[in-house]
Each structure stands twice: as structure tokens, then as C-alpha cells.
């Protein structure tokens, strides 16, 4: 399953990499919002993990654009937010995100969520 992690912190991308290491996932990376949109459109991942505060284009806007485009609206979008306030979570959900994780997050909880998405996909196929 193809999966995109968009975060401007290289170490956070590395963490997601190590967490999801294995044969099941092909992990794509983006370091800012514009790159995230390009990769999502070009590669059509099943799932996008999106940081909110990113250079060039923030994660909320990336999410909105993905959900507004019929070609990408099926991609499962999960926000990774460093802001714990309810307002930020609500903004993410309002932008069309399917789920969100607040930093610091548990890598194993993230893995569980990703596996659920993979199983749903397998069943749908």
C-alpha cells in the first residue's frame, strides 16, 4: 500500500518510516505542502499523513484541495498536529480530514490506524 508522509521535520518522517517499516508499505515523503500535493496527485497514495504547520502551503489547505478534487478525494487524510487545542482539531475535520493525531503521538497507535486502512482497502478490493 502506498502512503505519503508530509512533514517539514525530517526526523518526524524518519520516525514514520521506522514505524511502518516492512513489505506492506511503500512510503513516499514530502517536506512541504506544495510537494505533498504534487506527490499525492502524481502517485495516488491510499493514505496521507499531513503535518499542519508546513512551509509554502499548510496541511489544512493541502487537505482541502485533496478532498475537493474527485481524483484525490478518496485518499484517506490523517492530520498530524502539534497543536492540542480543540479548535485545531475541528479545523482539520472541517477541512475534510478523516482522522488526526496530536504530537507527541504513539507510533504503535499510528501503525494500528494505518493497518486498519490497509484492511479496509483489502476488503474493498
Amino acid at each position: 500500500m502506498k502512503l505519503l508522509i508530509a512533514d517539514d521535520e525530517p526526523a518526524v518522517r524518519a520516525l514514520v518510516h521506522v514505524t511502518l517499516e516492512g513489505d506492506e508499505y511503500e512510503i513516499l515523503e514530502a517536506a512541504d505542502g506544495v510537494e505533498a500535493l504534487e506527490v499525492a496527485r502524481g502517485e495516488g497514495p491510499r493514505l496521507v499523513l499531513l503535518d499542519i504547520m508546513m512551509p509554502r502551503l499548510d496541511g489544512l489547505e493541502v487537505c482541502r484541495q485533496l478532498k475537493a478534487d474527485p481524483d484525490t478525494s478518496d485518499i484517506v487524510v490523517v492530520m498530524l498536529t502539534a497543536q492540542a487545542q480543540d479548535r485545531d482539531r475541528d479545523q482539520g475535520l472541517a477541512a475534510g480530514a478523516d482522522d488526526y493525531f496530536t504530537k507527541p503521538f504513539s507510533p504503535l497507535a499510528l501503525l494500528n490506524m494505518v493497518e486498519r486502512v490497509r484492511h479496509n482497502q483489502t476488503r474493498a478490493d
Binding site: A14, P55, A84, F105, P107
Partner: protein, 375 residues
């Protein structure tokens, strides 16, 4: 000519007595009136001079008086406002009851205000009017906004290293990983904890500087010796970089706090190495021109575009580039460095060319100059 006035008869005496009482009463009344007028004059002076806006209204809500501060806030003069309904002179817009309120001036300008109101009673307890005190709280509102922006930035900056520590530690504890992976995860944890510690140090420095608690302990300094001293740990660590100095022999003694001058140089040399990931030369030059000494730190690194440099010395500003993210940092280093230079009476500035490198220069006063200025 009369030697003396003729004696008064009883009736005259009585009349004179009465007149005396009348005059005494009138005098007392006159004094009381004068007293009352003085008190009224004082009240009026206070009313007009007070820094907060004050408006008086009659029981029908019509303006009877307003002071200078309120004239400035509303754009109405007292003469124009008198007799008008109070809501016309003092329109207050608020999103929610008890929430922040904005006064809309006659010309449409919005001013954040705090309003307190009270009825005015006569001696028999009847309401004869009202008083409103309107305080301009733009400054307070601004400080609140800066404060919450700061808290939000700091919590974001703290959460990122915390995410890495939590994440890699959880993987180490709950996951079987090859030894190499375990090692690299431990390195990530170490890096993130160092970053947290640095962030906290920097935040404390900034807070001490801004509250004026950071004071210099200046003394005559041999700048060339300081430069050599701070370079030696960098020389030991830098594998890809050549660190060179150009120090003239006849440098005057400078006047500075040894720890802080070291911190300034360490920050700039550290940046020069950090932002030239490909290696190259880092050159520290000291020049001397009249009563100031100029230090420059030149690198052959990634450089910055004019746009990148716009807010370079602002708090928490980080150039929006992948290489910069990768290098890590708190966004406080150059802000602190600049403040430290300025506390010494010097200046710090930068020149840069993308892909070519950057030069950071700062000046410090010589001890002669400060001795000459009577310090």
C-alpha cells in the same frame, strides 16, 4: 465736630444686631459658595484631564458632557455631542456579551476598549444621569496577542522534539529492531533531547534579556584570544570545514563581557558550519577602524535570498528551507546574538548570496572609546 457718636437707643441696638447676623450669614454663604465652586472647578479639571474617556449623560441617555480623551477616541467634540443620544456618540461593537468590545469612532476606526458605567444619584436617591468610563485597551490587547502567539510557537517548538523522543523510545521499548536501527533510534532521541535543552536555554536567555535581568559584566578583552579559544572545539569537531582566522597584530583592547562575546562568536561560527553542509572554509576576520573593532564570520554555505533575510533577526524566525529544517535550531540564536551585540553598544548585520555563502559582521567598541565616553 462731634467728639463721639451719640449713644444708640434700644431699637437701634437691636437693628444693628440683626444686621450683623445677616452679614455674618451672607459671608458664610459666600464662603460656602466659593468652596463649592472650587470643588466643582477641581472636579471639572479632573474630568477633562483624565486619561480615560469619560461621558456623562442625562436620565434620557443624552450626552451632557464628555472629556478630551473621549473626544480623541470617538472623533466627536463635546459641543457636537452634547444633546445627542449616547449610543450615537459611543457605538460599541462586541461579538459576545462580556467579550472584547470595540468602540467604532465617527470615522469608522475601531478601537478595543473596556467600558465601565454607573448611574448618578441626587441626594434623595433619584437617578439624574449616568457616567461611562471608556478605556483604550489596544496596548493590552496587543500584548495579549503577542503572548498567545508566543505560547503557541513555543508549544509547537517543544512538541516536535518531544514527538521524536516519545516515538523512538516507544519503538525501542515495544518493537524488535535490528541493532543498527536501535542505535539510530537512540541517536534521534539524543538529538531531540539536546534540541529541547537548547530551546529551554534560549527561551530563558530571551526572557532574561527582555525583562532587563541579563546584565553585562564588561572588562577589557583581548579579542584575538577569545576568537582562538572559541574556535578550538569547532576545529576538533569539524571534519569537512577549514576554520581560518585573519587577526591583525595591533588590535586594540575591546570592552566586553567575556562570556557574552564568546556566546556571540560561538553562535555565528556554529551557524556558519551548520549552514554549509557541503563543508568549505569558515573565515573569522577582525578589523580595526578608529574606535570600533569589526568582526566578520564568512562561510561558503547555502546562503540566503534577500527574502530569506527579511526577518532573519526576529524571534523564532527560521528560513523556510529544507536544509535549514534539517540543520535543526530554535529560531532564537540570531535574535539573542543581535541583542547581545547591541547590549555591548555594537551592531550586527549580514550579507548573503544564495549558493555562495554568507557573511555576518558585528562591531564592538574598543575600551578607549568607552573610557573616552566617561564610562
Amino acid at each position: 465736630m462731634l467728639d463721639r457718636a451719640p449713644p444708640l437707643d434700644r431699637e437701634q441696638e437691636a437693628l444693628l444686631g440683626l444686621a450683623g447676623n445677616q452679614i455674618a450669614g451672607a459671608l458664610e454663604a459666600a464662603l460656602r459658595l466659593e468652596e463649592a465652586e472650587r470643588a466643582a472647578g477641581e472636579a471639572r479639571a479632573v474630568f477633562y484631564a483624565i486619561a480615560d474617556g469619560v461621558l456623562l449623560s442625562d436620565p434620557f441617555g443624552r450626552v451632557t458632557a464628555m472629556n478630551r480623551a473621549l473626544e480623541a477616541l470617538t472623533g466627536w467634540t463635546e459641543t457636537e455631542a452634547r444633546g445627542r443620544p449616547y449610543a450615537e456618540v459611543l457605538p460599541i461593537a462586541t461579538d459576545q456579551v462580556g467579550g472584547p468590545a470595540d468602540l467604532v469612532s465617527r470615522y469608522g476606526r475601531k478601537v478595543p476598549v473596556a467600558v465601565s458605567s454607573a448611574p448618578i444619584f441626587d441626594p434623595r436617591g433619584r437617578v439624574v444621569g449616568g457616567v461611562d468610563v471608556i478605556r483604550d485597551v489596544s496596548k493590552e490587547r496587543e500584548i495579549d496577542e503577542v503572548k498567545s502567539a508566543l505560547i503557541s510557537t513555543v508549544s509547537h517548538e517543544l512538541r516536535t522534539p518531544l514527538t521524536l523522543i516519545h516515538g523512538f523510545a516507544e519503538l525501542l521499548v515495544l518493537r524488535d529492531m535490528p541493532v543498527e536501527r536501535q542505535r539510530s533510534s537512540a541517536v534521534e532521541i539524543l538529538d531531540a533531547s539536546r534540541r529541547l535543552a537548547r530551546l529551554i536555554d534560549d527561551l530563558l536567555s530571551v526572557s532574561r534579556m527582555e525583562s532587563g535581568r541579563l546584565v553585562l559584566d564588561p572588562r577589557p578583552l583581548d579579542l584575538a584570544a577569545v576568537v582562538e579559544r572559541i574556535l578550538s572545539p569547532f576545529r576538533a569537531m569539524a571534519a569537512k570545514h577549514t576554520l581560518r582566522t585573519k587577526l591583525p597584530g595591533n588590535l586594540p583592547v575591546i570592552w566586553g563581557d567575556p562570556d557574552k562575546v564568546e556566546q556571540i562568536l560561538t553562535n555565528l561560527v556554529g551557524n556558519a558550519i551548520k549552514y554549509s553542509p557541503g563543508g568549505g572554509e569558515v573565515l573569522v576576520t577582525v578589523d580595526h577602524d578608529g574606535d570600533t573593532v569589526q568582526v566578520s564570520v564568512r562561510d561558503q554555505g547555502i546562503g540566503m535570498s534577500p527574502r530569506d533575510m527579511g526577518q532573519l533577526f526576529e524571534k523564532f524566525y527560521r528560513v523556510d528551507r529544507e536544509e535549514v529544517r534539517r540543520a535543526g535550531g530554535t529560531g532564537l540564536g540570531l535574535y539573542i546574538t543581535k541583542r547581545l551585540v547591541e547590549m555591548h553598544g555594537g551592531r550586527l548585520w549580514a550579507e548573503s548570496w544564495p549558493g555562495v555563502g554568507s557573511v555576518f559582521r558585528f562591531t564592538l567598541p574598543t575600551s578607549d572609546e568607552l573610557a573616552g565616553s566617561g564610562r
